[in-house]
Amino acid sequence: MENTKKVDMTVDIAGIRLKNPVMTSSGTCGYGRDYLDIWSPAELGAIMVKAVSIEPRNGNPPPRIAEIPSGVLNSIGLQNPGVRHFIETDLPWLKSIGATVIVNVVGYTADDYAACVELLDETDADMIELNISCPNVAGKPIGADAKATETLTNQIRNITKKPIIIKLSPNVTSITEIALAAEAGGADAVSLINCPMGMRININTRKPMLANITGGMSGPAVFPLALRMVWQTANAVNISVIGGGGIVKWEDAVEMMMAGADAVFIGAGLFYDPASPLKVIEGLEKYCCDNNLSNVNMITDSLITDR
């Protein structure tokens, strides 16, 4: 039964060849240093670093974390030291150790995004991920509107030749509408899902569990929602799809790829099992061996939908 053929674990995302299809998702792995005792960003397909904005941000007041059934609610609110700090300190280090770096960018306005990307365009960051879907900041996110998504994507497309990934919000009526708008705007890939917006109340204090009242849901609770949206999106667009939301173990990653993801990201799963990225990479490789797949990308779209 042992299959010793070597599996090709590389995948092409937005035209870039990655070591493997497993990433850690923005906001759950900092800038790559915090889990170093367990895994190095260089072992991943790519690291999606915590959102950076043109100016540093404080984020929301604490408490920022609450537990939910099979998941976690967060209201970080994009605390970050600013893109310049990232470019000076973290990015050179990440590149020096051999990581593929996807920079998650956020802004209040289109110009904010543009300013960030202009600075990043001068660096050796590998890809830009536009976070237009954070549930933890005031106002309607750009990612809730197709036209705004297309316009922003297009504006950024004109600034950089680096691959652009649009991070999609699940808090929308039609995920495919927004994904198609991103594609039309010139995106090279979409990543999804960001966090569905949720809330919890402490019935003893009668206060919301988060100071910001609402927050973003992640973890296994959102997995079926994410899987559905990835499936719909992969069926709608021709660009790369990076799928995640609730992935904890390799079986989840296989499901996500079968639904149509070209690569996957792990976020809150790190909190449960910090070693999950390595275990998922191993598990995918073993799955391919066991099923005689020579390349991990053969899992993508292997779903059988006729009964």
Partner: protein, 259 residues
């Protein structure tokens, strides 16, 4: 920081009514690098659990081969922990964070309130008779671990809110009396935010260093998620910044905390 599976060798009830347990892990690896005031993130629940988040617990004390934590049953995760039996394996991440600035040349007052006593017990185990502990509890049912402080050579005073054990009153009273002796260089405090805030307030009138250990809700426990922040004075325009309790803390210089 280690990410390991360790064997439980004891999970002993310390206080029936208070539902306080002492849990000891057989793990030379974990005990090797562990400093007082640091903490572990422990995976709770079975294979089919709905808990995504690990639970943070301060190291109470270590020896060459074992690490002991102590916990109060307050919710579903600690409820599950109370059912752990010796021999069972636990997934443990740690040691994490920055602990107490333990310095045996300094006379240190340890101030603990309810489960905050476990973090200062860690300091007690290193400081011995260079320290003294004042411990506050709601009532006598919750009093525990006093013998352990004493075994480390640390004298202990107890105060309870209802007077059912030791003196009646709030821990601040005892702290004031101790400080008025003018013997202390440093104070370590761990307890409710209210208690830490009022002790820190009091200390402004004294010439002592004061450190507090702050328990914030955590997700990653390792500094990656920005979930556990505390407002700390900073040399920037706004005069403060959010620092991570799990990475820059949980122990902070009380003078820098914005309550």
């Amino acid at each position: 920081m280690l990410d390991i599976t360790a064997k439980v060798i004891e999970n002993r009830l310390l206080s029936e009514k208070g539902r306080i347990y002492s849990l000891t892990l057989d793990s030379p690896e974990l005990s090797k690098d562990c400093l007082p005031g640091q903490f572990y993130e422990i995976k709770v629940g079975g294979l089919d659990s709905r808990f995504l988040l690990r639970r943070p617990f301060s190291v109470a004390f270590c020896d060459d081969k074992t690490v002991t934590i102590r916990y109060n049953v307050v919710g579903a995760g600690t409820e599950w922990m109370s059912g752990i039996t010796p021999g069972q394996m636990l997934d443990v991440l740690g040691p994490l964070g920055r602990g107490w600035p333990v310095d045996k040349t300094k006379k240190t007052l340890l101030v603990g309130g309810s489960t905050g006593i476990f973090s200062v017990l860690g300091a007690a185990s290193h400081l011995g008779d260079k320290s003294r502990a004042v411990l506050g509890f709601r009532s006598c049912d919750l009093v525990n671990s006093v013998e352990d402080f004493k075994a480390f050579g640390v004298p202990v005073s107890i105060i309870t809110e209802d007077g059912s054990s030791g003196r009646k009153g709030l821990v601040t009273e005892l702290v004031k009396e101790e400080l008025d002796k003018n013997e202390y260089d440093t104070v370590f405090i761990c307890g409710s935010t209210l208690m830490m805030k009022s002790v820190a307030e009091l200390l402004k009138d004294y010439d002592v260093d004061c450190y507090v250990s702050i328990e914030e809700r955590m997700a990653c426990g390792v500094g990656a998620c920005m979930g556990c922040v505390v407002k700390i004075k900073a040399d920037n325009e706004q005069g403060w910044e959010y620092k991570r309790a799990c990475a820059e803390g949980p122990v902070f210089n009380a003078a820098e905390v914005i309550w």
